[in-house]
Amino acid sequence: MAIVASLRDINLFSSLPSTPPMADSSSGTFRPAPPIPIPKYAPSNRNRNQKTNHQTDTNPKKPQSNPALKLPHHRTRYYKPVKEGVISSDGDRTILIGDSGVSYQLPGAPFEFQFSYSETPKVKPVGIREPAFMPFAPPTMPRPWTGKAPLKKSKKKIPLFDSFNPPPAGKSGVKYVEMPGPLPFGRYPKEGMNREEVLGEPLKRWEKGMLIKPHMHDNRQVNLGRDGFTHNMLELIHSHWKRRRVCKVRCKGVPTVDMNNVCRVLEEKTGGEIIHRVGGVVYLFRGRNYNYRTRPQYPLMLWKPAAPVYPKLIQEVPEGLTKEEAHEFRVKGKSLRPICKLSKNGVYVSLVKDVRDAFELSSLVKVDCPGLEPSDYKKIGAKLKELVPCVLLSFDDEQILMWRGREWKSRFVDNPLIPSLSETNTTNELDPSDKPSEEQTVANPSTTISSPKMISLWQRALESSKAVILEELDLGPDDLLKKVEELEGTSLAAEHTYTAMVLSNTDGAAEDYVDEKDRSEEYYSDIDDDFDDECSDDESLDPVGPVGSLPVDKIVRKLRERLK
């Protein structure tokens, strides 16, 4: 109120010395003056921000969220074409390009070292992105001159960890070291010279269960991601085996497309044995006679080498197609519906099978990969290209579009497969039912002849008022419901009538009931005798006509006897 009053006073005061229109114009000019620069600057800032965002998005694509992809190689443009064979050598240490991509040969190594043993394409690289440099420590490093004699070595001897002689339990500062594998009572481990000796005799079923059970709900494991089984994981797995007999390996993402390859590489490089597999989880057993001290020790890779350059996955004109045909397929693929959606870090164990199944019905198949890194779904596409096999057409819109190729052949060759399988199924179905059919043949020979058994049961239901035939076949749903309710009501009324009869004469009802029992028994025995006689007579006289009509005659006679 005070502020308003002061404002009013100002207005009143200003109106006296000057003319009213002048006051209005001056107040108008003064009031919007302060906010004028704000709207001018704000839009320009936004425009600049948008421009900068656009520039960053288009040109370098540097600000990627995943830190695994932040590598200096993306900022360099080094490219050197390479051919198969040795591309660099330093004495007896060589870097070569062979069937398994870029590999490093070191003296004394049992196999060629690679960055990733499971995620290397089968195609040979065509170029490298960094100078060919060995990512391992040099064999010797000369000591710089310090002007002094070298320091004396420590006299204290540090014992090496030995699985055969683990440190005693309870000793302070010493971690637990697992003893050699499950051995029967009275037997001792022995040093193994090769894989078979280290593994020992195969594990029994209960032993596998005993080893796996504590690992099932534990996340003490080796995680495999997009790079698959890398070189430094060899040492990591041996570290796990130091404390436990089974190492759990969990795979997610790209390696799960081809789990067989991952398992083969794991067993081959580590020398362990896979004792259980569920989806992307693998349980790797170290062996009964494993000794951590005598494990194979490989030099560690000190940095991640740059991925080499491989031939393009997407060809402008794929083999087997013309440019127009490829374009037509890509246009059709735009409106094609994806067969599945891959989530990030998922387990794609059934992806290859799904794509193969989808190719049975359509020459083009699309897989949706929302949220995945471009490098990830391109790797998945490369794997599908090798495994399915198929021709990749595009990676647009985070979707993999594939063509099955001209040499594709269906798995379902209808003519030879279905008859043989149906015969097998028929025989299988016949075997369990032969016995009951035999029994029924022996018990009721006339029943086997009545092929319309269902019809006889149906007619029996009709006669005993369990079922009712509808006069009108095209009844509406409501009318049908009324009919059903009427039938149910009729059956209830019948039950009610029966109850009334029982209640009316207690003593008389009891006597009648006993009499009825006796009569029914006599009736039953009579039926049996007649049945046997009739069968023999019919067999001797006419085998076809009377046999078919037996059930109806039987029913008629029953009714007549009941009436009498």
Partner: protein, 246 residues
Amino acid sequence: MFCASSSPITSPLYPKAYKFSQTKSNSKRFSSLRASLPVSDNKLLKFEYTPWLIVGLGNPGLKYYGTRHNIGFEMIDHIARATDISMNTIQSKALVGIGSVGEVPILLVKPQGYMNFSGESVGPLAAYYQIPLRHILMIYDDMGLSNGVLRLQPKGGHSQHNGLKNVTEHLNGCRGYPRLSIGIGNPPGNMDMKAFLLQKFSPLERKQMDEGLEQGVEGVKTLVEEGFSDSISRFNLGQKYKFHKV
């Protein structure tokens, strides 16, 4: 139970039948021994296939006619039309039709108790007509599949379907009966499941569903004649990817 049998398989049964007839003929007349052979042949040749009970689940009444939840009824209508079976009988609170596919007798059933009490019709009918559990085919709607997609399975769970739950209870808790799932799609957005089930189909969905029902008739015929074999696997594969074509 009777199953179709070829002559070499039934040859082991022949001596027993021969002995049986011989014994009876000896007790009565000796001259009938010669006539037993053709009679036995005729008997053996008239063995019957195990019947199938094909049940379509749905709600009765005009109020629920044509809704998504009543797709089982529509499937039964299509099968009846294709095999010339007249649904002319009411038994155990169900509309029943007897017929055959080829030489296999089948019983088409539409329970007329409401969906949550379908088992009250299926149990008594299976018991009365002596149909084994593995020959009771349940046809129902499935929200886990796209609209118009069918799937034949030898066994499974209740798939959150109240009708299947009731049927399982009335079959002593056994879940080993085959099923034909007819996909009706998912409720759009946050629509209530019950409201979605009691809706009718849109024109596009109706078209897809009609094509699916025609294919389902062929699938049911294949199942009845050949059982679960490679043909059924082929059928399921075709259904799974029928909307993923160019």
